[in-house]
Symmetry: C2
Subunit: 223 residues, 2 copies
Amino acid sequence: MSTLAQGKAGLERASTAQKVADMLRERVLDGELAPGLRLSEEAIGGALGVSRNTLREAFRLLTRDRLLVHEHSRGVFVRRPTGDDVRDLYAARRVIECGALRLWNGVTDAQREAVRAPVRQAVARAEKNDWTKAGSANIQFHRGIVGLAGSTRLSDESDRLFAELMLAFRVAQEINDFYQTYVPWNRRIVELLNNSEIDEAVDQLNEYFDAAEEDLVQRLEAN
Amino acid sequence: MSTLAQGKAGLERASTAQKVADMLRERVLDGELAPGLRLSEEAIGGALGVSRNTLREAFRLLTRDRLLVHEHSRGVFVRRPTGDDVRDLYAARRVIECGALRLWNGVTDAQREAVRAPVRQAVARAEKNDWTKAGSANIQFHRGIVGLAGSTRLSDESDRLFAELMLAFRVAQEINDFYQTYVPWNRRIVELLNNSEIDEAVDQLNEYFDAAEEDLVQRLEAN
DNA sequence: ATCGTAGAATCGTTCAACAATCCAACGATC
DNA sequence: GATCGTTGGATTGTTGAACGATTCTACGAT
């Protein structure tokens, strides 16, 4: 029966609004729709071949994900994260990820592997100077950490935080500079975890957040 | 200027969909719209005097808040939390609130007071056997704890978790029984915090979560 | 240069329509 | 008698047009 249960996910037809939202999400995250850009209902709806009402439903979805901001009677815009936004995001990440990391000894092997594997990937990709894929492996690392908590709600919210953070990276034109520093950082965290030095791992993660936040805020406020 | 800045919030006209969503949220949380109930677009739209399209926008908002569930081509229903939902909710709360609590020594006095004050209120109201208000004071206590993190994103998400949890309470017909036990529990946590015994306070909070989760799951699965 | 105003553009919301989907009742079949 | 198609009826999904309300822009007055 497990194969049938798997197929179920594919069966669930996505609504048009959902599909439109997914498409727009990609465009926003890959930078095709730049932060600050206003999304005209008429233009986008016409281009995608959907009605204004359906498009507005899609906008609501992305607004809840904080990728778009809605200004009454003015329209929706691609979010342009500020320094304050970044501080807020990292305050949330600190609590969530450090809290999740403390659960290390009480989770399943699969959960622990979901933290280790992305680090190995990031190392391999960094050696090939493929910083784009190394960056996504980094996100997988942090997704793995949040996954230690075993809460889909927490993981979903964290995904939204990560997506918003990627917008901030784009605004800050943060490309590789900082990405090169976190790979060894992540390695050290995993080593500490493997030695059951949880508190030290949490400290390292916190320091990583300090550095990343500061770097990002600097670039944003220099805009 | 501060008075002008305050007025700004009131100036921002809420959209009809937002107002409808707020109204429905109240009805769901106070139990007037019972968990599992299907919300007919025609019936609700007619009763509230809004068009189907606007109502659907409101439904989307509440679906994202997890108060409603949307089933394709079948309609929207008031969420009926399951035991698994409750376990997921508490897994998230454990990480968020225990993580936030550890920040106790590094936050402002106002933040700390936002944790202490609700406990005093809960004590006062419990003495008058006003368990409804004591219950909302309990939520304020936990909101205060999350607020220690200083992240509006985290606080907003926690509010959603709390709202969903109140739905679970309703399904479980959890009235006063358990509410009577947490008041002294909260008192103890605050005392430990005042003595800077942070780790002990976190332990207590974790035990509270254990007890609350177990109690709630039991009632739900007995349904 | 600042201010106010008219007109264009866009949003907010409603309404009506139709296709797609689901549901409940009814027989048909074994 | 229980299971299985089938058939309408009801509800959702989506569209398109319409119109008042709001914002933006450009132009001219002070």
